[in-house]
Each structure stands twice: as structure tokens, then as C-alpha cells.
Symmetry: C2
Amino acid sequence: MQPVDLTHHISKRFEKDLEELRGNVLAMGGLVESQLTKAIDAVVSGNSELGLRVAHDDYKVNRFEVTIDEACSRIIATRAPAASDLRLIMAIIKTITDLERIGDEAEKIGFLASRLANMDRPSDSYRELKTLGAHVRRMVAAAMDAFARMDVDAALATVREDEYVDEEYEKIQRQCITFMMEDPRTIRRFMDVTWAARSLERIGDHAKNICEYVIYMVRGKDIRHINVDEIDLDEQD
Amino acid sequence: MQPVDLTHHISKRFEKDLEELRGNVLAMGGLVESQLTKAIDAVVSGNSELGLRVAHDDYKVNRFEVTIDEACSRIIATRAPAASDLRLIMAIIKTITDLERIGDEAEKIGFLASRLANMDRPSDSYRELKTLGAHVRRMVAAAMDAFARMDVDAALATVREDEYVDEEYEKIQRQCITFMMEDPRTIRRFMDVTWAARSLERIGDHAKNICEYVIYMVRGKDIRHINVDEIDLDEQD
């Protein structure tokens, strides 16, 4: 056997490992997006059964997290990855934690949907939740897309969208309090609506986190905990 | 220079790096505990200023996270740690994410404390929040203690405490809804109390997560996403 071939062989195997790892993260992201879509649908259409199914299926998301974590440890231990590959793996370890937490929030929304389905329904079918939900779902999709293409500009654009989510969430919360004060018999219902809105707001945060890992992965620059307006990435272009 | 001495030297340096890393994680844990203690005090004593100070100081927690993350990457890249050392580093990467999120929840409680301080105060000074807060704070302390001593039994005991936190949280939420229905003028106030209770409940979850990493670190067994009653660690004793 020739040494050159061996090196080539090892490097090919390593490439394949990393490619499989990235594929698994994207598959996990796809599952989480689907869980979120169903959870929002369950709220909007008052489908209790669908809500409970989302909650039940959360174990699939958790399974992904454990599998990918193990793969990351194995690759670090056996391949001793250098700078940029290591950054990819570190970003993946963090990303799947956020994906798992998005799954948890989708599970909570599923339970809330099931409970809301058995209460009086407003004539607008929770339009605000639907709008906020659609927005947050797009953020998650955009975050995973930025991850897949290692696209810093797309990641940064998605980070900036989180402000809109926070504003929408505050608006829904104020509205719910107004409704509760007007008719205290609706308190239980509108508490559940605020919980669902809160979960969506949290999902926006997680999508933002993932985008920050993408930026770190590509640029080697940690932008967490920095005001988004202070970020100047052009200097590295 | 003799090769033996060099190896010895490198291994000593590595030991020192790991020790420093563990020390930083414990220091971060100490800071987070202190933030939590102050946030609860601010709610209970109606101290708006203290609440805002906690919120302001969250940047210190964030700074720890970034520093420790960088140290982990550097150690992995330069020392290629083997099995058990690598498990320690993986556990640290996960632990500091949870510590940072506990810091975020303390920040939220700080803001809520500041808002609650400017509203009517109940005669019992939010006794339930105080009790739940004290319990959750002990869980965080116990989790960091289990981490410091790599104590699997202590970690497992703390994981089990999370059920009590969930029950207490549900109780507070039910109480708040009752109060709101009895007197709708208190809705705003009791919404803030439920948010604070929710933050405490989330902190309990994060403490539980940290304990699960301790178990993984020591035993090499991933117990996340497993029902606590199904965990049988004795087989490995």
C-alpha cells in the first residue's frame, strides 16, 4: 500500500463523514420545520388531534440530537479536525441544541393547540398567531438554508428579522391582556394564546442563534451578544 | 532537551489548561447563581433598582460564555484530547450554553421585579415565588457542585427534583389565573408573576440539563430524553 493513497483515502473518508454530518443536521432541521408547521396549523384550524401528534412526535427530534452529538464526538476523537472543520463541528454541536429546543417549543404549541381546540374559538381563528407563526417558520427555514449554503449575508438578514418577531410578540401580549380585562371569562383562553405567542418568540431567538453560529463557522467571528447594528462583517470581505 | 521531559511538559500543560477551563466554568456558575439570588431578592423585596442591576449585569455572563467556548475550541485544536477529556470538553460546551440561558432568565426576572416593584404588592410578598426561587437556586448550586466533584449520584438526585419544580410552577399558574378572574384589575400584575414563575421553571430545566451532562461526562452514557425512572446506572458500577 502506498502512503499517498492512504492519506487520500483517510481524507476522503473524513470528507464523507462531514458531509453525512451536515446532511443529518439538515434532516433534523427539516423535521423541526415540519413539526412547527403542523403545530401552527393545529392552533389555527383548532385540530386537537394534530396538536397531540406533534407533541408525541417530539421524540424523533430528540433522537436526532443524540445521534448527531455522538457523531460529532466520534469525528473529533478520530479525525482531530483542524481550524475550519473544527469550527463546523462546534457550530453543529450548538445548532442541534437550538433545533432541539425549537422542537420542544413546537411540542408545547401542540399541547396548547389541543387545549385551545376545546375552548370557544375567535372569529379570526387566531390570525395574529398565524402571522407570527408563519414569520417564525420562515426564519427557521432561512436559518437552515444559510447553514446549508454557509451564506453569511442570508444569516445576517435573518438575525435582523428577530426584532420584528419581538415587536409582534409584544403586540399580541398587550392585545391578550386587553381581551382578558374586557371579559375575565376569556382569561384561561388568552393565557394559552400568550403562551403560544411566547413559544413562537422563543423559536425566533433559536433561529437567530443558529444564524450566529453560521457566521461564526464561516468567518471565525463570534457575533453572539453583540448588538446587531454594531456588526461590521465587511472588514473581512 | 529530552523527549521524555517534553511529553511530560506537554501533558502538564494540558492538565493545567483543563483545570483552568473547569475553574472558569465554576466561576461562571457562581456568577449565574449570584444573578439568580439577586433577581429573586429583587422580586420579593420589591427592589426595582436591584432588578435592573441584575438585568444590566447579564453581559458579564455572556462574556464568560464566549471566553470558555474559545478556550474549548483551542484545546480541541491544539491538544487533540482523547475519550474522557473530550467528554469533559463536550460537557463544558453544553453546560455553558445552559448557564448562559439561566443568566437570560435571571435577566428577565430582574426586569419583571422592576416592573412589579411599581405595582400594588401582596401582603405575602410573593411567598410562592420566593419558595420556588429558593428551590431552583439550590438546584443550580447542586448542579454546579455535581459538576465540580463529578458526582453522578448528586447529579441524578438533582435531575429528580425537577418534577417538584414543575408541580410548583403549575400550582402558581393556577393560583394566578384564579386571582385574575376574581379581580381583573390585577391581570397585569399576575401576568408578570406567571412570567417570573415560568422563568424559574425554565431555570430548573437548565439545572437538570447540566446534571445530565455531568452523568454523560463521568459515565459516557447519554441520559437525555429518557424518563428519569428508567435510568439504571448501577449496571455500570
